[in-house]
């Protein structure tokens, strides 16, 4: 068995145990949140002027989808279902399996968050290198300050600001949704253009919110590498600046790849506020909705998916590092 295979097996075993532990903890936390979702829905409909009998009709059916039995029975059913990838049935989407509701929402989270993460990573890394190299100049100061500023602004503040500017003050972007329904879905310019148009605000906001972290991390990493002996040796040997720059970039980016892999773990749960503010129907949006409506099965499923993604991302980050950093690989082989 190779070093990587051994590591993978160990990680997977630990990951499965962690997922089961998290599933158990989240099950009991979720089931112990107080509040009656059916009564709340009923009263809300009354407030909106619906007659009591119509409100009763509209909510009565929800009772059929609430979990039954003692808490322990519910738990054993839930865990047994987990091994069959059955997370139960949603109350707010009556009759729909939680897995399909999550699957439908997940695609609207993964694409924008992935695009936003990669965009911010690329821009942040490049700007981080410049900020480090030009750290004594005005450009370096400007880049570092912009990074600190954006890193310090909470995601939801940025989202509100972007929304106010581009949907109200200069209304050039849509206020929500995934695509204009008037366009026939498919591989056509109109529909794809509409998809991109609707994703622009969530993606750009996510990228801006993450950009600060990347630029600061990259700058710090580059500055550290610049002080390493091998850079001094390269300079003394008279190597060209472009080659030295490549040495610096390759070594400085290594820790950032780890952070990137971990960030990808947040693909499913990283944009809750952004989705809510931009009315973008992804997982974060679904999670808030499930909490408000006490949709236990959906809440549990969403938490589990987010947790599992983070655990998997951790495993991948670790393996990835083993692959890309020869020092780690050789160290392990030596100890093996």
């Amino acid at each position: 068995m190779t070093v990587i295979a051994r590591r993978l097996a160990g990680h997977l075993a630990r990951g499965i145990v962690m997922i089961l532990v998290v599933a158990t903890i989240s099950f009991f936390i979720v089931r112990n949140i107080p509040g009656d979702p059916v009564a709340a829905r009923y009263q809300k409909l009354l407030e909106q002027g619906m007659s009591p009998e119509a409100a009763e009709r509209a909510t009565a059916v929800m009772y059929g989808f609430l979990p039954e039995g003692t808490l322990w029975q519910q738990y054993t059913d839930y865990m047994a279902g987990l091994f069959r990838f059955d997370l139960g049935v949603s109350v707010t989407h009556p009759g729909s399996p939680v897995t399909s509701v999550l699957g439908e929402a997940a695609k609207w989270t993964v694409l924008p968050v992935l695009a936003g993460t990669l965009l911010s990573f690329l821009v942040g890394v490049i700007m981080g290198v410049y900020a480090a190299i030009k750290r004594s100049g005005k450009l370096g100061d400007f880049l570092a300050i912009s990074g600190s500023l954006l890193h310090g602004v909470p995601q939801y503040v940025l989202a509100l600001l972007m929304g106010a500017i581009f949907t109200t003050l200069i209304p050039i972007l849509p206020q929500g949704g995934t695509a204009d329904i008037l366009f026939e879905p498919g591989f056509n310019a109109g529909y794809i253009g509409s998809l991109i148009e609707h994703a622009t605000l969530p993606v750009v906001t996510y990228a801006l919110a993450s950009y600060g972290g990347w630029i600061l991390a990259m700058k710090s990493s580059v500055v550290t590498v610049l002080g390493d002996d091998f850079i001094l040796a390269a300079e003394l040997r008279g190597m060209r600046r472009s080659i030295i720059f490549r040495y610096v970039a390759r070594n400085a980016i290594l820790p950032l790849f780890t952070i990137l892999a971990l960030s990808l773990g947040l693909l499913f749960g990283g944009a809750i506020f952004i989705e809510k503010i931009f009315n973008y129907p992804g997982l974060g949006f679904l999670l808030i909705d499930s909490v408000v409506n006490r949709d236990y099965a959906l809440m549990g499923g969403a938490f589990l998916l987010i947790t599992a993604a983070i655990i998997v991302a951790n495993i991948l980050a670790d393996l990835f590092y083993t692959v890309i950093d020869p020092r780690v690989r050789s160290g392990e082989e030596a100890s093996a």
Binding site: P34, G35, D36, P37, A39, A40, Q43, L46, Q48, G49, S51, P52, E53, E56, R57, A58, V61, G64, F65, T92, H93, P94, G95, S96, E104, W108, L119, L122, V123, V125, I126, F166, T168, I172, L173, Q175, G176, G177, T178, D180, I181, L182, F183, E184, N188, A189, G190, I192, G193, I196, E197, H198, T200, F245, N279, Y280, F285, I288, D289, V292
Partner: protein, 607 residues
């Protein structure tokens, strides 16, 4: 690094291009007969969140059947002040209600067809009634002894159905219960009910284990029905579902609809929302042609009014909000304390702050919304104590309750401090504003007060029912049916339950009795049981209801289980930039979806 830079530049270019583009060709919006064509944009105010995977199923709360557009009922209930049995035509063209409410004979629209070209028949209605039995309907209830339940459904001919009421526990709302029924196509939905369904229904009306089993089987069918997903939408309404994504739904005109010639829009677009803020933004930007009632603060309302074409229609909304007391807790068990507080609170000021557009300050506490109160109580309404702000009277009441005033502050009878703790759910901005205003008024009058917010509405309802709060807000006066009006004050929350027409009362603090009022009270020298009187309202005629309503109004006014703060106003937002012909102010159409206005032929394209 060059490659990285190129990728970033490409992504940036894509984003900018996308941001500036309105590329592609939308689906056809050509105009057609019936008032001009065009796209009608709206939201479903009763159902936040569009579920792209939801079926075109009117029984599914997340289904993509939109009431009045592609989901039809036999008839549409009018927003009448006092009569629950007033309707506009839907699938039914006309109806005849027996004078004693024992039966209703329904005539269907003669020329109505489903969108696949098949005629709408009495068999469709019969199947839909069968489905209604599985959904917890009022007229089609399987609970033994339920008030206003149907006894028989008879298909008279292809276009006529007769439904008779079980007169052992009749209800004046029977006709409403029948006509307020969804109609689904039997040729699509026929498979959802088993062949022996009607035999099962007959068995469920008996007693014993077999009847219980039949009832369980019928209830279980309800879950199957709401998950039923027709391959495509087949509608007898003015529109058919074309497609849906997580943010929007598109409906197109149904040319088979009986009144298609008078249906103006060619297309209807439903927009997704999850909170009021999104609806406000849509309204401010003038995107919506119609939105139902949405509470909005004054500054937001001003911005909405400034949007070109905005037209706000107001009318009767049979809901009021009351400041409710938990009478199991001291000093709220003392009526003089409740009266004293009523004299201290300036309801006009509270309403002005909390709900300037969506409410009118309650004239007094009668348990009835002000408008129908005049109809039900007549001149007697003026005899009720109005509880106008009067600090002197408040002081007198507090003294009668034995409260003590020390250094300008009121304390309990034993001298211990008294603080009025009001609770509201987080996010209910109007209720929180009202409680903050009341707090200010009370503190100024020497009554210590505080406002506590709890996480959300489900938690609030659970805790108020468990008797955890001293004072909270509670919706009352749900009209127009008299029973609905008073069951909020003298129903389960105050200890009375109505099972098969028999009224029972639970001890304060038990079985959901969190208000904890007395079982019997004296009104004009006569001892009454408010819960029993409320139960009677379920079956009596309007004329018979009036003296009972008066007794209950007097009981509520003298005992103040709640202080009625404001009566809600039904506020509808429309925009006349693209369409006109919306209902007038105070119209009895205001609680119906705009799809009903459209199908009745009222809405026309703006010239």
């Amino acid at each position: 690094m060059k490659r990285l830079a190129a990728v970033v530049a490409l992504l940036g270019l894509t984003a900018v291009t996308a941001a500036c583009s309105g590329s592609g060709t939308p689906t056809n919006q050509s105009s057609s007969g019936g008032g001009g064509g065009g796209l009608f944009t709206t939201i479903d105010v009763n159902r936040p969140g569009i579920d792209a995977s939801g079926p075109a199923n009117p029984y599914n709360p997340k289904g993509n059947s939109f009431l009045g557009y592609n989901a039809m009922k036999l008839a549409w209930v009018k927003n009448h002040l006092t009569d629950p049995n007033q309707f506009y035509p839907g699938i039914a063209e006309s109806w005849e209600i027996a004078p004693d409410n024992s039966a209703i004979t329904i005539k269907l629209q003669p020329n109505n067809k489903w969108s696949d070209g098949k005629p709408v028949t009495a068999e469709d209605v019969r199947l839909s009634i069968g489905i209604a039995y599985t959904q917890g309907s009022t007229a089609f209830a399987i609970t033994p002894g339920a008030a206003g339940a149907a006894a028989d459904v008879e298909v008279v001919d292809d276009k006529t159905v007769k439904v008779t009421q079980d007169m052992t526990n009749p209800s004046s709302k029977f006709a409403r219960g029948v006509l307020d029924t969804f109609v689904a196509p039997a040729h699509i939905w026929g498979s959802v009910l088993p062949a022996d369904f009607w035999d099962k229904l007959k068995a469920s009306r008996g007693e014993g284990a077999d009847a219980e089993k039949a009832r369980e089987e019928i209830t279980a069918l309800g879950e199957k029905i709401i998950t039923f997903a027709p391959e495509k939408d087949v509608s007898a309404g003015p529109f058919i579902l074309e497609r849906v994504n997580p943010g929007e739904a598109l409906l197109v005109k149904n040319k088979e609809f009986y009144n298609a010639a008078n249906v103006a829009p060619d297309q209807v677009k439903f927009l997704n929302y999850t909170g009021n803020e999104q609806i406000w933004n849509y309204l401010i930007s003038g995107k919506l042609d119609h939105a139902g009632f949405t509470a909005a603060p004054a500054d937001v309302m001003n911005r909405i009014k400034q949007a070109p074409g905005t037209n706000i229609i107001k009318g009767f909304s049979p809901v009021a909000v009351g400041m409710a007391f938990n009478q199991t807790k001291k000093p709220y068990d003392n009526v003089h304390v409740r009266r004293g507080l009523a004299y201290l609170i300036d309801r006009a000021e509270v309403t002005k702050v909390a709900s300037p557009e969506g409410g009118n300050a309650a004239v007094t506490t009668s348990g009835i919304h002000q408008k129908p109160a005049q109809e039900w109580l007549g001149a007697e309404l003026n005899s009720l104590e109005p509880y106008n702000p009067d600090p002197a009277k408040a002081e007198e009441e507090f003294k009668q309750a034995g409260l003590q005033k020390k250094d300008g502050k009121w304390a309990l009878a034993d001298g211990s401090p008294w603080k009025v703790t009001m609770t509201a759910p987080s996010g209910f901005s109007d209720w929180i504003s009202a409680q903050e205003n009341i707090k200010g008024q009370l503190v100024e009058a020497g009554v210590d007060a505080e406002v506590v917010t709890v996480a959300d509405y489900p938690l609030y309802l659970e805790e108020i029912a468990a008797g955890k709060y001293d004072v909270g807000f509670w919706l009352i006066a749900l009209g127009p049916a008299p029973y609905d009006i008073y069951q909020r004050l003298y129903g389960a929350s105050n200890g009375w339950t109505n099972v098969a027409g028999k009224i029972k009362h639970a001890e304060p603090g038990k079985s959901g009795n969190w208000m904890g009022g007395a079982e019997k009270v004296e009104v004009d020298g006569t001892e009454i049981n408010p819960g029993e009187l409320t139960g009677k309202l379920n079956s009596v005629s309007a004329e018979e209801a009036k003296p009972i309503m008066l007794q209950l109004a007097k009981a509520a006014n003298q005992d103040l289980p709640v202080i009625q703060l404001w009566d809600y106003v039904n506020t509808q937002f429309t925009n006349t930039s693209r369409f006109t012909g919306f209902p007038e102010q105070e119209s009895d159409l205001l609680r119906l979806p705009a799809g009903v206005w459209i199908q009745l032929g009222m809405v026309k394209k703006t010239p």
